[in-house]
Symmetry: C2
Subunit: 293 residues, 2 copies
């Protein structure tokens, strides 16, 4: 049996869907049910339930966006750095292997070689962190979370970037682009949420080595390219407006810097786990678009 | 009535002694009694008890020293950054002014001008933090704690450095120097613990503006100078040994870099709060030294 922590959100529910489809028995634990943020409470549960595996989707992302984390620093730190550390401690003590939903937002840019590079590998040191002194508080805490997990050897660290799929929802990247008044031009890797959840589960089902995995659709897209896909699909035909520059975006719309980055997915592919190339994945999502009421 | 959080340790008990002497009514809260690390629990308590003031001495320092924090990163973050943020939130909601025991260990060096300078002021940006990428995990979390408190306007941030007094104890700087096999030469500001607690309380009793205060005995001392005081006093006459260099210390005795720094105390003195000059404070402690059994 698999324990899922905080599995009711946009990414967590994708894990639930994938596990149901694959016939994997799981239990989604809410904090209201069990305070899994307390190491002793979680450890007692693990010793009682004896799960084969645990998945942590819980974290603090800020609503409606990362700007909110600048105002809720303690909870951002708690959810993204202290919590994974406590789960790691409990899982180590109970000898339960597990996976942590991390994020690519601890990088900035196209890769270590700069513009035009093909992405950051798992071995590249994050460059959008407290240590590099250029990040949002959110990204800083996600990087600290990974730093804390570095000393544990029974955990998969699955890096997600900007989740999307074919269902209109405030957490869906495509919905966000359609609803925002103005967009920021940038190049990014992105993750179709069901493919992400499926690939993460595969790393464990195949008993791949523990450690970090970039789990995004191969390739990268610019905001303009995504907008072209949207317009071409007919899902939305409005005239999309863009900020003149990142400076204008920061001045007019944002309180804290955003991570825009490309992740290299050759490690995952080298393990035989193939996600749909990003342009194709976007076309598929838009071709089967389900508008919410 | 004053609420004291985590007041049973070396520094907390100094607050208790000073408050008793001054006839200040207080209640020392232990986590076993009330889980004050939970914002809602603390807020409910504050609304019930309606204290005039709260003092947070709780924090995670690592036993026997900061090297231990490198192995307990989640709890270090929790105790030194998340906890002050949660206390701040509860105190803001309950409109309770409060004071936080912070640390000078977020600086390194004699001052912003480098060697020979007379100390870092409260307005100087900390230079031994995650942002400057040179610190211990402990110092990083203490600096994050101050960063989180920056957005609250009803809190005193009292920076302590290396507490000592005249009672032999494993937490007393003088005891440490006497017991360590070898010493690291460095220049530091240090805080006599009762003078520290007394000065902190004064900032509130005098209704000084909220914000940061360096609370150390004026001046600075090198390790060699402290050893001279110890030898001269007769408290210990052994031949003190020193590491050849900071590199040797790091190689042989430490896992993570130590903060050595001088704090400027003119802000506190300008408010009329005078602590004993550091050399005199050391002589006083050693002249009345109480050896433990």
């Amino acid at each position: 049996m698999i324990i899922l922590l905080g599995g009711s959100g946009y990414v967590g529910s994708a894990f639930q869907t994938v596990m149901r489809k694959r016939g994997l028995e799981y239990r989604n634990l809410s904090r209201a049910e069990v305070d899994y943020t307390d190491t002793a409470t979680l450890l007692a549960l693990l010793r009682e339930v004896r799960p084969e595996f645990l998945i942590n989707v819980a974290g603090f992302t800020g609503k409606p966006n990362v700007d909110a984390c600048e105002m809720q620093k303690a909870e951002t730190l708690m959810g993204n750095a202290v919590l994974p550390g406590r789960i790691a401690e409990a899982c180590a003590a109970a000898k339960v292997p597990w996976g942590h939903v991390s994020s690519g937002c601890i990088y900035s840019g196209d890769g270590p070689k700069g513009k035009g590079d093909t992405g950051f590998k798992e071995t590249d040191t994050p460059n959008f962190t407290f240590h590099t002194n250029n990040c949002s508080f959110y990204s800083g805490t996600k990087a600290l979370g990974e730093e804390i997990l570095d000393s544990y050897d029974n955990v998969y660290v699955w890096r997600l970037r900007i989740p999307f799929d074919n269902e209109d929802s405030p957490r869906n990247y495509l919905t966000k682009l359609i609803r925002y008044q103005r967009l920021l031009e940038a190049r990014n890797s992105i993750s179709q949420r069901y493919e992400y959840a499926s690939a993460c589960l595969e790393t464990w089902l195949r008993r791949l080595p523990f450690g970090k995995y970039n789990v995004t659709n191969p390739g990268s897209v610019t905001t303009h390219e995504v907008v072209e896909h949207i317009v071409k699909s007919g899902v939305c035909r409005k005239a999309f407006e863009f900020f003149e520059s990142e400076e204008a975006f920061m001045r007019l719309a944002a309180k804290t810097p955003r991570s825009n980055c490309v992740l290299d997915t050759t490690k995952l592919e080298g393990c035989g786990i193939h996600m749909t190339p990003v342009h194709e994945a976007l076309d598929q999502a838009l071709a089967s678009w389900k508008q919410s009421a």
